[in-house]
């Protein structure tokens, strides 16, 4: 015999105590999520990143395919405030780098020419491009006047600016992740849905299928599938092809999550209660089941994106994924394949740092969402 307590709304407050608030599920989730500061930071960082890569051509100081033939494998330009004479300038500037042949080692070395300062400027004219594919422009966010050349992350062996390529490559990788996710999501929702909804032999079949796909070594299978993408396809087609390859194996865990959640939700008392009070099947699905697992779906989707991105990078790195002239984080890292070159030009590894940052941000975001999706659970 548990002592009865009245619903919270009936609390009579004499004074001093804070009033009880009644929050919706969404408010509770957002509250809990905001408390996870790293997740919140990752969330904003990812939004910013997606915005930047969408406008990559504007944020990039150069064109991604523009070759600076006098600056092959140039190290990153140092941004300075104090000049060679020791005078401080409030406005950052750079020196032009020129390469010289070192007569002892017979290697090209870059030396700063301190005779002329090039101040960093906003909205500089440069290589023309089409913003978002249709706005003609030649304005780049940051740059310097000619003949200065601003290469914040250095250049590759063909003299192309790594920052500009990094932004463009991140765009490919970030959106391949999303595209693969979208395809995998449709597959996962379909298979997980019919499996959890119909049960019986369909469920058994789908379960065996997912188990089967999950027990195979992913990467070798991806490699074999990626080889199916015909060589004569256009970059856009390859893009879809690789996303599909990633999705073909990636949907399984999503399907399992959806199935499991659907089955456990169907057995919840409140669903049973809805059935008993004569609520239609359709209303039960849309009003009771879907809200119950959209939060879980979002969590799993968030955690699946980095897997897709890692898969794309690995395939492209092996030469089986995105192909030149298209740029992705994986193809950029292909330039770093030669250990000798990387040892001498470590800035070629910057795209690798970008991969780690993106994946870490998605993982943090997913973790934060997972904690928040269950606002009543105290960790």
């Amino acid at each position: 015999m548990e002592i009865n307590s009245m619903p919270q709304s009936a609390v009579v407050n004499l004074k001093t105590e804070p009033a009880y608030e009644i929050l919706s599920q969404r408010q509770l989730i957002w509250r809990k999520f905001k408390r996870h500061r790293v997740a919140l930071l990752s969330f904003y960082a990812l939004i910013a990143l997606y915005a930047i890569v969408l406008l990559a051509e504007f944020f990039a100081p150069h064109g991604a395919f523009e070759r600076h033939s006098s600056h092959l494998l140039s190290p990153p330009t140092t941004i300075r405030f104090v000049d060679a004479e020791g005078v401080f300038h409030l406005r950052p500037f750079i020196y032009r780098m020129d390469n010289e042949l070192n007569r002892q080692t017979f290697q090209r070395e870059y030396v700063e020419d301190t005779s002329e300062k090039f101040f960093l400027k906003f909205f500089v004219e440069g290589e023309p491009y089409k913003l978002l594919g249709f706005i003609d422009s030649n304005i780049h966010l940051i740059g310097v006047d000619e003949p200065g050349i601003f290469l914040p992350f250095g250049t590759d062996a063909l003299g192309r600016d790594i920052l500009s390529r990094l932004l463009l490559g991140s765009r490919t990788s970030l959106f391949v992740g999303l595209l693969g996710l979208a395809i995998g999501f449709v597959l996962g929702l379909f298979f997980g849905g019919i499996s959890g909804y119909y049960g019986g032999s369909i469920d058994l079949f789908v379960q065996r299928l997912t188990e089967f796909l999950q027990s195979l070594p992913t990467l070798p299978l991806w490699m074999a599938l990626a080889a199916l993408v015909p060589a004569e396809w256009t970059p856009i087609q390859v893009y879809f092809g690789i996303s599909s390859v990633l999705a073909i194996i990636g949907w399984t865990s999503l399907a399992r999550v959806i199935r499991g959640k659907l089955i456990s939700l169907r057995e919840e008392d409140y669903v049973m209660a809805a059935h008993l009070s004569g609520v239609s099947e359709r209303a039960i699905i849309t009003r009771h089941l879907l809200p119950g697992f959209t939060s879980y779906l979002i969590v799993y989707l968030t955690l699946a994106v980095p897997q897709m991105i890692l898969g794309e990078t690995a395939l492209s790195y092996l030469g089986l994924g995105i192909r030149a002239p298209a740029v992705s984080l994986g193809t950029l890292l292909q330039d770093a394949q030669n250990v000798q070159t990387v040892t001498l030009s470590p800035w070629l590894l910057i795209p690798g740092g970008m991969v780690i940052l993106i994946v870490v941000a998605f993982n943090f975001l997913g973790d934060g969402l997972r904690d928040a999706a269950d606002p009543y659970r105290h960790s």
Partner: protein
């Protein structure tokens, strides 16, 4: 049962605070309680009032981050008196007492045993820690204990896994485990709450039987006043981390003093009472004891609260009758004691 005058456990002004993100949760806010040798003391209150925290504090198995103040004096059979509150919760001293001199039965018979080991393994483990290292002897003790708590085919049960037993059988096994080291004090934390009514009656009977047989003291924790009436001689009522009333069980049922106890008793359904009366319930719900203001904890739900007093000053627990203490300003003795302490200057 007559109470013996020698105290076994004296809890004095025990405070347990849990620092949480939302603020400090005062799980226990000055609990004072005495338990005599051979006595069965009932501790009763709503969920979340601090009953279980009191038990866990005596055993020193409260969450590690809990901050503890006050004294828990335990008078051992050897004549030594130990302040359990001052011990290292992982130290050898408390571990020799835990499960040996003081043992505990928990609410959840379904989850109290690990599903990965046999019942025998988990009972014998306790016996070998506190009574004998001899494998044969400890198995014999475990088997004997299982038989005594009424488990049929005790030797076969030793080799069974918990999930092969029913809830009632598991709780019997739990009691056997708790008694296997012949504790001086048994803490029973809602041992029958999770059981169905017939099994509950059997287990209560069993507990009375074992107490008669072993003669230990029992601290019986429950929210069920019906069980209290059947099990204990003396009862303490808890509300929001404090004892609000303590008396003999008859006195409490026939002459409850604290408004909370009165309301609690009114909320019990009674047989024979005319059905047209609505069952009363206590207004409001238990506040969460986070950053609570000073004053009586019950003030927000109390129908007879005195404005300007009850919400400002926390009344002391004072005897108002022979062996009947209460923590409420409705009684002049309590006001007088508060004035003596200097907590209340003048009351009109």
């Amino acid at each position: 049962m007559t109470t013996q005058p020698t105290p076994m456990l004296q809890i004095e002004d025990l405070k347990v605070h849990l620092p949480l993100e939302e603020g400090v949760l005062k799980a226990l806010d000055g609990v004072t309680l005495t338990l005599n040798h051979g006595q069965t003391l009932g501790l009763v209150g709503e969920s979340g009032c601090g009953k279980s925290m009191t038990a866990q504090s005596i055993m020193r198995i409260a969450p590690r981050f809990a901050q503890m103040q006050g004294r828990i004096n335990f008078h051992r059979a050897s004549g030594q008196t130990l302040d359990l509150a001052s011990l290292d919760p992982q130290g050898d001293t408390i571990r020799s007492i835990r499960g040996g001199e003081i043992s505990m039965i928990f609410q959840e018979p379904m989850t109290s045993f690990s599903p990965l080991y046999t019942i025998g393994n988990q009972i014998i483990e306790a016996i070998r820690l506190h009574r004998t290292k001899d494998p044969k002897e400890s198995t014999a003790i475990a088997e004997d204990m299982l038989a005594r708590v009424g488990i049929p085919d005790a030797s076969a049960t030793l080799n069974k896994y918990p999930q092969q037993l029913s809830g009632g059988m598991r709780q019997r096994a739990m009691i056997a485990m708790a008694l296997s080291c012949r504790p001086a004090l048994l803490i029973a934390d809602e041992p029958t709450t999770a059981l169905d009514v017939t099994v509950q009656a059997q287990v209560l009977k069993l507990m009375r039987g074992v107490q008669a047989e072993f003669g230990m003291s029992i601290l019986y924790i429950t929210h069920d006043l019906g069980v209290i009436a059947r099990m204990v001689s003396e009862v303490a009522v808890m509300y929001l981390g404090r004892i609000v009333e303590q008396s003999t069980v008859d006195d409490l049922f026939y002459a409850p003093r604290h408004p909370y106890t009165q309301a609690l008793l009114k909320s019990i359904p009674r047989m024979g009472k005319k059905a047209k009366h609505r069952l009363e319930s206590i207004q409001g719900s238990v506040p969460v004891p986070i950053n609570t203001p000073t004053g009586c904890g019950f003030v927000s739900r109390c129908p007879v609260a005195i404005h300007g007093l009850c919400d400002r000053v926390n009344p002391p627990l004072v005897p108002v009758d022979n062996g009947h203490s209460v923590r409420c300003f409705l009684y002049p003795e309590v006001v007088a004691a508060a004035q003596q302490e200097g907590a209340v200057q003048h009351v009109s």
